[in-house]
Structure formats: C-alpha cells, structure tokens
Point group: C2
Chain length 426, copies 2
C-alpha cells in the first residue's frame, strides 16, 4: 500500500487529553481515533492489527474445538432477570440500558445468559457434550475511569468462549486445554503472560485464573515467583493482590522471594459450575437418564486490550515496535531521494521494483511514496508507526550494491541485494 | 465439519412467533437464533454465510479504492448536535440513546458525523482527495415494526461507505463506479437488483438510487420497466413509489407498459453534497488556495439484510437453496446406511474417503455422520439447510459404481466416480 494514499496521518505532538502511552502512540501513529474517553475508532492500519490479533485468537479457540458464533449485542431483560443480574451486580453496575417503545434492553458486557439460553435448545443428552462456542464481538461497560486508552474501554472488542460439560472432571480437562491455548495466543503476540490465581467465578480458586502481563500501566497488582520457567508455562506461584495473603513472602514451590508488580489483566478464565445453567434451565439427560444441570466454564480475552498491551510493552522513545505476527505490514519501504533527477530516477525505479516484487509474493509492504517528505521525516514516521522491517533505497545503498534493511528496535543495518525470508501473514 | 458436532439443530416445526419466511427458514435450519423481535444471534453456519457475504462486499469496495475502517458504535452527542440531528430526524426517531454518569451517547444508526469528523484531520488539500472509507459493522435502529426477520432489524450488520471529493464532477464519477460495484455484489450473491430512483439524500434525484430486489416480502413498491437488459445493468426506468408520478404509465425509453411490484431495498447510494462537511468543518484547500467544503457521497448495503433477501428469493417448500457463493459449505455428504454390518462398513469407508478427499482439497463439506438418523430425516435436513451440492453414498450408489450427486433445487441425480469441479470459496 502506498503511504500517500493510506487513510492515516502521523502527528508529531502528543494528543492533549491522553496520559496513556498506548493511546498516545496509537493516535500519533494513526492507528486509532479517539471519539471520547474509552471509545476509539480504528483507522485502516489499526483495523489490520486488530484483525491479525483476532485471527491468532480465533485459530487457537478453533484448535480446542470452539465453534464461532456471533451473538446479539442487545440483551433481553427477562434473561438477565432469571439470573438475578439485571438489578444487581454487573447488570446494575456496568451494563448500559436502553429503551424503545416496546422494550428495555441491555448492551452486552458479557454473554453467559444469552449463550446458555441458546444452547439449552441444542443440548439434550450427555452425547451432545462437551461443547464450546466463542465469539469475537464488541462489548460495552459503563466505565467511570476510562483513562487507559485501549486497556479499559466503554466500548471494546473481546473474545469470549463458554464451555459446557457433563461433569466437573470434563470441565477440568477443558480448562487446562484453554490455559495452554491462551499461552499460545500470548506467545504468538510476543507477550509473556503470568498465569495468576484470582477471585473470578467463585466455584473454586483452583479454577479461576488471570493472564497477567507485567507493566507499569497495569491496574492490577500481583505477587509472583519470577523463576525463568514461569513466563510461558505453569509457573511456581502468582496471585492477584485481591486474594493474596501478605503473610506469604516466599514461593511455596522453590522458596525464592516473591516479587510484587503492577500488571495488566489480558485474559481470565474461570469455572461457572451450574450458576447459569440452573436458573436458565440448561439441563441434560445423563447416562442414567437423570436430568442434570450442565457444568459451565467461561474464558475471556480482550482483543482491543491486547492491542493496547502490545504497544505498552513494545515501544521506545521514537514509537511503536510491532511484533511481526500482528504488524499491519511486514515491511516499510523508504526511497530516500537526493534531489538530483538522474539519481532519483534510479532510486525510484529500484524502489518500485522492490515494492512490486514484495507485493507479488504476498508480503505486506507500506511504500513511503511521499516524495516531498525529507529523509528525516520519513525515518521518524517509520519509527513511530513501528513496522518490523525498514527497507531503505537511496543513492548510498545503491552505491553499496543494494538496499538497506533494518529491524525496528535494532540498531543494526545491513545492505542486501534482495529481501529474503519474509512470508505472508494471514 | 461433522454434522453431529456442529452447533446447530434443525427444527421440524415453524417457530410460533414468526411470519417472515427468511426468519422461519433460517431458524428452522439452525442458522440464527431469535433473541427478540428484530434481534438475532448467528449460530456457526449463519456466521459463515454472513462472513461470505461480507467478503464479497469487502472485495468490491476495495476494488473501487475504499479503505476499511471500524468506527465506534457509541456516538458523541456533540457531533450529532453540530449537524442538528440529535434532537431531530434520525437522531430523534431511530437512534437509541444511553447515559452513564459522565455522558449521553447514541448507538450508531449511521456514521456520517463520525467519519466526517475523523477525515477533517486527514484531508488538507485537493491532493488528499478523492478518498473513500467503509466499514462492516453492527448498527442499531429503534424499530416499531420489526417483523421481517433479517430484513428489518433493531440490530443489524451493515456496510457503509462514504466518499470525499474536491468537485461534484469527481463525485459523479465515483458514484457511477459504486453503482457498478454494487451490481457486482448482487450478481455474485445470485440476485437481480433493479437500480431505482429514490428520494434519499436530497442533493438531486439523479444521485439518489436504491437497489431493489423484487419480492412479495418487500416493504417498498417500485414502478419499473422490465426489459430483460434491465436486471443487471442500467435499465430503462425504475422509481420508488415515494417519488413516482402515477400519470406515467409507459417506459419513457422504450414505451413498454410499466410494471408495479413489491420489492426489498438491498442498498442505497446518494449524494450528500456539503451537508455534513460544512457544519462539521471538513474543508480542503483547492488548487487556488481557497478553503472549500468537501463534497461527499454515502453508500449503504445491509449485510444481514442481504442474507435475509437471499433466503426470501432462493427457497422451495423443503427449505433454503443457497447460491454457491454464500453457502456455508460447498457440499453436504450423506452416507445412507442399510443396517447390514458388512454393507455399512463399505458405505462408511467410502463416505470417509470422500470426506477426507474434499477436506484435503479445501472444499467445505458438511458430513452427516448422525448414524441413528433415517435416510428420510437426513434428506429432509439436507433440503432444509440448503447446501448447493448433495452427495449420497449408499449401497445402491456403490452398486451403480460410485456416489450420487444432486444440486439443491434441481431434480436431476447423477452417479459419478468422484467429485469434480469444486473449488474452495474464501
């Protein structure tokens, strides 16, 4: 895509009304547009990143058998009254409610009620279980303090998966699978997630976990053991401050001193038991012919929040440093003109050839064809936007026998005759 | 995908509270679930169809240069006050409004205000024009009479594209391109759209058109000339009843008698002139250095409505007949068991082989592995679900030397040794 044509413009100055790093960088680099506190629109490059994160999450959810659906945003009042959440708890505290002449409805902050109501028409016997479904969908929450950019929104994109089981044992098996699938998602997004015991759900603390990413931007505090193996596997110990007993100072597994840190909750998973299936009438007939409430689990992961987290973790003073897996383009091509007609013709011919070659291979490339911009402006924009590989074509690189490549976030530059090793990303 | 595992069950009986044909068939066949009047959730096969329609629309919008964005659903009150639509017109009549402690916002029924506000930061001079952006996004409308299934929803999926121009001439060129792109969308979806003059927009009736699909389920009435060339090109004459002068009885082009019909509005396009750019301050500097309001156009197309229209047009007494381009799967594989162990082993081996071969080629196949179901039940479900190609493996087809294929909607059956001619659909 040509940069002169893409619907985005970088800004040199920080937006006045933002203190959140992810919001500042994403707005300055032209990925998002702020509509109001906690509400952002996604410009083309922002939507590309969001779609890449969604695809990573979608693939892992499908790998554990999750079937994708898309449930309504408008929530029937009667359903939420059945679980006693319309006038209490989440329904009272965070759900926006709207009326028209015929009805009052909520804007979905979560979908336990709705999916449980749907599946009760689809599950009859133990033979229909286990079963899981997920969606990637816009959700809403009343937020008194939406000051953290994409980390905490009034409107946000979220993946929510729900699982349905004939027994607690079967739920437990699936819960472990989901944990591993979540770790794969974070790993693919270049993040280290710490599986942390938490208070959600309420069935048992053995089955309530958050995936926490260490960051000063986090609103949570965790106490954890930082043995190296921790980051991408089970870990020794990590608890959210909400449930942590401060008398504990050492890791119960290895005895090392526990660490305390601010962190961002990137996902949470927990058991629901029969909390929703009972009041909503989602029963199945077990092997003995007995009607039994379905055992459920719930698994959330913020897609737009993940985009914000990635930016909080991957940046330097010049801008964003996108991991390859979620970058809007694989490379950023910068022809640097000299002002001399003959030389510039050669530079542009060379750059056009590189552009066409990459496009023909299906490699995403942003081509900075803004010929009025100085080299300094182009380099600054490239750093701000943060595409993983910068490719420079200039008189100097041609004299040295090719094109210059540099990875964003690295200082090392290299002259090569052609670009190798890039493969198309879905 | 195996039918025993897919999240859907067919229903023999029509839902009690529906009169709309598309809603009845889509619910009975397990594509959608009704949450309340005008609000549906999409089960896996429904979401597959919706995604295929979205991809067709997306491709055509990108072909005319549209860049995809995703704007917020929550609409700032101040923006809509600038165009005087918060307390009047669409803002008063159809926009849901919600409050929290800090603000009052609307749920977007359309996005002229929001996009115009965004682009004014991106467009400075005539060199930044023309420009167009679109989104495929959930929208909301207060609907007093949401009785038509997916044809008229309180919550619905829509593509809206907006174009921005330096001159009316440039707008007119783009308008014609969009018309052709829309016709391609409908053609790909197997629909005949009649381009119909209408009253939307208000800049000029020459630049306000609806794409009408003839159907008794329609809420619109059109007067049109039905020369055969009409259906997929410009046509001689078609006007919405709203603007039609009933004194006209013959086609002004060819003199044939005009036809009158009920029809469904599948899309509309119209000029906006400077209606939004002026009050929202979206100006550009023209070639003479003069600040001038940007000329705009607006192009809507209902994605979920299109799914409803396709079902209204393509069905018979037994169920849906999906066009290949939007069908959830390319083929439906039905092993018909005989009850004799030796024979059934052969049938299932043969069916498994066909299933694996098709999957390896990337062909979408729904495999009816529900061995307890009778042949009659399997055939009835296949007709109801409406996948374009039915493949039967039974003792009879094996004796005849292969497998039986039959197109949904045709009576012709054929024995073949292997499936040919299917290609993966995005």
């Amino acid at each position: 895509m040509k940069q002169s044509q893409i619907f985005t413009k970088t800004q040199k100055e920080n937006p006045k009304d933002e203190k959140s790093l992810n919001a500042i960088l994403l707005q300055r680099a032209g990925f998002i547009y702020k509509e109001m506190a906690g509400v952002y629109s996604y410009l083309p490059m922002g939507l590309m990143v969001l779609n890449k994160i969604s695809n990573i999450v979608r693939e892992e959810m499908q790998n554990i058998g999750g079937q994708e659906v898309n449930m309504a945003i408008l929530q029937p009042k009667a359903l939420w009254q059945k679980t006693d959440r319309w006038d209490k708890g989440i329904g009272l505290e965070v759900m926006y409610k709207v009326k028209d002449e015929q009805m009052e409805v909520g804007l979905g902050p979560t979908h336990e009620e709705m999916l449980t109501d749907i599946i009760k028409n689809h599950i009859e016997s133990f033979e229909d279980l286990p079963f899981s479904a997920f969606q990637i969908q816009t959700k809403f929450r009343k937020e008194a303090r939406a000051k953290s950019g994409l980390l905490r929104g009034r409107e946000f994109l979220m993946k929510d998966l729900y699982s349905f089981h004939a027994s607690t044992e079967d739920f437990k098996d699936f819960y472990e699978k989901t944990k591993q699938a979540y770790l794969k998602v974070f790993e693919k997004c270049g993040l280290k997630a710490i599986i942390t015991e938490a208070s959600g759900g309420g069935f048992s603390k053995d089955y309530s976990h958050e995936f926490q990413i260490i960051s000063p931007a986090g609103e949570d505090t965790i106490y954890y053991c930082d043995v190296p193996a921790l980051s991408l596997s089970k870990g020794h110990f990590s608890q959210n401050e909400e449930i942590f007993d401060k008398k504990i100072t050492k890791c119960p597994v290895c005895g090392r001193e526990l660490q305390k840190s601010k962190s961002i909750e990137a996902g949470n998973i927990f058991s629901l038991g029969a909390k929703y299936s009972e009041p909503l009438g989602a029963f199945f007939t077990d092997k003995n012919g007995v009607k039994t409430p379905i055992i459920m689990g719930c698994y959330g992961l913020g897609i737009s929040r993940l985009m914000g987290i990635i930016v909080e973790i991957n940046n330097d003073k010049n801008g964003i440093i996108w991991p390859k897996s979620v970058a809007p383009f694989a490379c950023h091509l910068l022809p640097i003109l000299s002002g001399k007609q003959e030389q510039d013709k050669e530079i542009l011919e060379k750059a056009n050839k590189v552009y066409n070659d990459l496009q023909n291979k299906g490699i995403g490339v942003l081509y900075d064809d803004r010929n009025k911009k100085s080299a300094g402006e182009k380099f600054a924009d490239a750093d701000l936007i943060g595409i993983p590989l910068r490719i420079v074509v200039s008189q100097k690189t041609i004299e040295k026998g090719g094109i210059e490549i540099k990875e964003r976030g690295s200082e090392k530059v290299e002259i090569v005759s052609e670009i190798k090793g890039l493969t198309p990303v879905k």
